[in-house]
Symmetry: C2
């Protein structure tokens, strides 16, 4: 709730953030002077678990870079069903499109856990961009990635049924991590349902069917992938029997 700018000694703060910022893709390869400007215009903010960061339709005053924690960006149906668009983690941008386009936020954003972020005011950032257009190059890469993510999401939602989306998600997790046969879901099942565009009940049933069929084994948030081939088949439209 309280989002304060921490009161640190000036020098300490600068040094610390400078090294942090070098690791943020958006600010790679920035010349020193521009980095200095950056440090002058950012603000640290903190959000507690479940706290709303911004809401759909509200005016965007700027954008965030997440330093710690995770944020879910989601839409709500009139009846309250939620669809998670993406989950934003450390070193990633939040709300940048709106800030750049000067349009209102297109979705809600809530902190999923205690979250620390850097906040950039739109006008300050745009001023920087005019001085240093190459920043936008890095931003482009980020947007391009997000576009590809959305492309896949649309494909999934309209061309695949829930088992297919779930299978794709598990294999995705599997690739991310070392591709061992055990993957750890880093979100609750309810949230996973929302991410896959379905509801907890449906997800629960499908997980049970997959277990019964020996495709995988569930214990809490730990999933053991037993038959990856079967998962791939499901992604490719193979029906999941009862």
């Amino acid at each position: 709730m309280n989002s304060g700018i921490k009161l640190l000694k000036m020098n300490m703060k600068k040094t610390h953030q400078s090294s942090a910022m070098m690791n943020i893709p958006l600010f790679h390869n920035l010349p020193g002077p521009s980095l200095k400007i950056l440090q002058g215009i950012l603000m640290e903010k903190e959000f507690s678990k479940g706290e709303n960061i911004f809401s759909e339709g509200s005016e965007s005053t700027g954008f965030y870079i997440i330093m710690r924690g995770r944020v879910k960006v989601y839409k709500l149906s009139p009846e309250g069903k939620e669809q998670i668009l993406h989950i934003v983690g450390p070193r990633e941008l939040l709300g940048a499109v709106s800030a750049f386009a000067g349009s209102p936020y297109p979705a809600h954003a809530d902190a999923m856990e205690k979250t620390k972020a850097l906040f950039f005011l739109q006008k300050d950032f745009l001023a920087l961009v005019r001085k240093e257009p190459s920043v936008v190059m890095n931003m482009m890469a980020n947007l391009a990635m997000r576009l590809q993510h959305f492309t896949r999401m649309i494909e999934d939602l309209s061309l695949k049924e829930v088992p297919g989306r779930l299978a794709a998600y598990f294999l995705y997790l599997c690739e991310q991590k070392g591709c061992s046969d055990i993957v750890e879901m880093d979100i609750s099942k309810g949230q996973l349902a929302s991410l896959l565009g379905t509801i907890p009940e449906t997800l629960s049933r499908i997980l049970r069917r997959l277990s019964e069929q020996g495709v995988l084994e569930v214990s809490g948030r730990r999933i053991r992938l037993i038959n990856k081939k079967a998962l791939k088949d499901i992604i490719n439209g193979e029906k999941l029997r009862f």
Copy 2:
């Protein structure tokens, strides 16, 4: 209808293109020298109706700016069902994300009608960008718009049922044009189904129900919106009765 660059003498041609390019958002406010470079690296290409421009997974060698005609960008399910991601028209970019990111095309693109386009080779364009980073600013605006489009699409696909998506589409068309009560569908019903993430049969049934209930009137591709309030209610989750 036909707006083409007729067969003019060389000098004429250059002049013509130069002015054409000034109208493309991507190249707004470019200084003269950069414009000259641009003209050196572009190629004119033409596609006949139904012709494939690129396919999902194929290496991207560059991107297009559509000058005339329309192109559908779509995904295919293993069973052949198609989901149109967007329809690209004159003055718009095609395949730019892939070109920028250096990744393969993430979807298929077919000309929906006779289409004329300018083609830019990746490496040439990237060289230009290095000289003139401000081009990327304009590109950002394009990507930001597309992201918002996809955001709405995901919301629709997962939170609304087909009648809601259809209603949203009609009201969107209505706003685009002068918002008279008559809208002209500029694509076939089959294609519209694919755009809405459904199949022609379902679309047909829903159109009939909407007619029966006096919400609208269909005659060919001309739709008369009789009860816009009802359409808005449907978007907001109101059920469409039989």
